[in-house]
């Protein structure tokens, strides 16, 4: 998806009338992250807790191998690995923070 800066506002090509702060793309990333959590949990025979923003990753039902798989898979899908330059933000603790990390990384890529 191409983006252009026009008169100081951001517009998404081919999406007339989209909100200037790109909610569509952000929710697309959220959908992908959530889908990735679900398929990984299923593949690893893990019982995944409902994905709410305040869900602690520690309590999600996933182990570190699951997260390793999710990070690798999302890197393939989205082309970003926000953990590679995880400076002051630190590791995400909740599902909401995890999604934010990817939204920020995908946004700064453009």
């Amino acid at each position: 998806m191409e983006q252009h800066i026009l008169n100081g506002t951001t517009r998404v090509e081919g999406k007339e009338g989209a909100e200037p702060d790109l909610p569509d793309e952000q929710s697309e990333i959220r959908r992908r992250v959530a889908a990735c959590f679900r398929t990984t949990a299923a593949g690893q025979d893990r019982l995944l807790q409902p994905l709410r923003d305040d869900l602690l990753l520690l309590d999600s039902g996933l182990d570190s191998l699951c997260f390793a798989i999710i990070v690798a898979e999302l890197e393939d899908q989205l082309g970003v690995d926000p953990f590679a330059d995880l400076d002051d933000a630190g590791f995400p603790v909740t599902f909401g923070e995890f999604v934010n990390l990817y939204e920020a990384a995908a946004g700064s890529r453009h």
């Binding site: 593949g43 191998l65 997260f67 390793a68 798989i69 990070v71 690798a72």
Partner: protein, 457 residues
């Protein structure tokens, strides 16, 4: 120990037996009785001589010329970069070069260069015990040299068969590498014809040449043989003896060869440049019997720290060069670096010690994962490697080449195949060993040495 040329003469080769390349050949009888180096051959006596040839057949001739004459002969593999030649000349104290081609890079090395001609001149006296220096396989960067003797190199070679029962040898290997050199030495000391491969020759042409020359015994790596299996039809080529070495021979390749060549004796051998020829297995099963370990005899094997150790008269004698480390442990065993697992009376190779993937502290050998993936009916070949991961340090990732690449043409096809391969891995392997990601690739590179190219792994 008699020289290689003397042993060829003793084998009394048939006048019709030749070493054949696609566009050239040399008769074994001429090679046994005449020199192609002319009068300057005598200047090589007692020298350290580099064999750097453009073609395999030139290397075969050079080795016959030099063994027993030179103090030391250094056999360059085909892919040795010219940039490494000055190092090799220094490390092996090279005093002369024998070649089959006009090469300015050789002239620049500052030692005499002798060009091979057709064998016509009288053979020089050969009374020396030549040391053979070979390059270890699979190394990158500065080449690593190991020393051998002809006796060690031919330690696994049978005496000549009676005339009329002699095999016609061929190999997919280049004879300038250990695996191919074994076959060259078997052919020469056994007085047998040998058909050389050419990397530029299309496989169907190669196979029909093998059939025309009446090849009975053929050797190659499992990757070489898989390439033949992929082709499906060997045409009129029907070897009676099929030999695999240089890589792990897994059950699918053994089974594939069994069904393609139902009447052949199929042997997988374990050998390396450092350890020499260690053993052969012909029961059609991957791995080797556990009672080989600790078995008395000239070739002794044991496991230490998980890897196979070998003490044998066929091992090389030492590493050569300014930074050469020790080859043997205190008891004279060579560490092959190949990890062996023992299960139900059978030893199986689980990969190289240095190829281990560490997933959150748990070790994964790429080969054990590849073995599972390769069992999937849609999979032609796979290569498993480490992928850096911020959570576990590394995860397992697999590059997969399919039998039918069109199966991965659609997103749906990719997703179905990925799910089915992963399901297979998860049922056969602990979770950390199943690939985290799978990528479908049009093909997997095979190195010039015939092995899966793990250089980017």
């Amino acid at each position: 120990m008699a020289s290689l040329r003397a042993r060829l003469a003793w084998a009394r080769p048939d006048p019709a037996s030749r070493i054949e390349a696609p566009d050239a050949s040399l008769g074994l009888c001429e090679l046994a009785t005449a020199s192609g180096l002319g009068p300057s051959a005598s200047t090589l006596a007692g020298r350290s001589v580099l064999v750097r040839t453009a073609r395999q057949i030139g290397a075969a001739q050079a080795l016959l010329e030099l063994d027993g004459v030179a103090r030391r002969l250094v056999l360059c593999p085909p892919d040795l970069a010219a940039a490494h030649l000055p190092y090799v000349v220094g490390a092996a104290e090279v005093e002369a070069i024998v070649t089959d081609v006009a090469d300015p890079a050789l002239q620049a090395l500052g030692v005499p260069v002798l060009r091979l001609e057709a064998p016509r001149a009288p053979v020089p006296a050969a009374a020396a015990e030549s040391e053979w220096l070979l390059f270890t396989s699979g190394t990158t960067g500065v080449p690593k040299l190991v020393a051998h003797s002809l006796a060690a190199l031919t330690g696994a070679t049978a005496p000549p068969a009676p005339a009329g029962e002699r095999p016609v040898w061929a190999t997919f290997y280049d004879i300038r590498r250990y695996g191919g050199l074994q076959i060259l030495l078997r052919a020469l000391t056994g007085g047998c014809a040998l058909v050389l491969a050419d990397p530029d020759e299309p496989l169907p042409d190669h196979l029909s040449r093998l059939a025309r020359s009446g090849v009975t015994h053929m050797s190659g790596t499992p990757s070489h043989w898989r390439r033949l299996l992929m082709g499906g039809q060997p045409g009129a080529f029907r070897p009676g003896y099929v030999r695999l070495s240089g890589e792990i021979a897994d059950q699918p390749v053994l089974d594939g060869l069994r069904s393609l060549f139902p009447h052949a004796r199929i042997v997988h051998a374990y050998a390396s440049t450092e350890a020499g020829v260690v053993f052969e297995v012909d029961d059609g099963r991957e791995g080797f019997p556990a009672d080989f370990l600790g078995r008395p005899g000239p070739v002794e094997m044991k496991l230490a720290d998980g890897s196979l150790r070998v003490r044998s008269p066929r091992t090389s004698t030492r590493y050569v060069g300014p930074d050469a480390g020790p080859l043997f442990d205190a008891e004279g065993f060579v560490d092959t670096g190949d990890i062996v697992e023992v299960r139900e009376g059978r030893c199986r190779f689980a990969g190289r010690r240095n190829g281990v993937i560490n997933v959150g502290g748990l070790k994964v050998h790429p080969e054990e994962v590849e073995a599972v993936i390769n069992r999937h009916p849609a999979v032609r070949l796979s290569m498993v490697r480490a992928r850096a991961n911020p959570i576990t340090g590394a995860v397992v990732t697999a590059d997969v080449a399919l039998v039918d690449p069109a199966a991965a043409a659609s997103a749906e096809g990719i997703s179905d195949l990925r799910a089915s391969i992963l399901a297979m891995c998860r049922s056969a392997l602990p979770p950390h060993k199943a690939p985290a990601t799978i990528r479908f690739v049009p093909e997997l590179r095979i190195t010039a040495g015939g092995k899966l190219d793990r250089s980017n792994a």
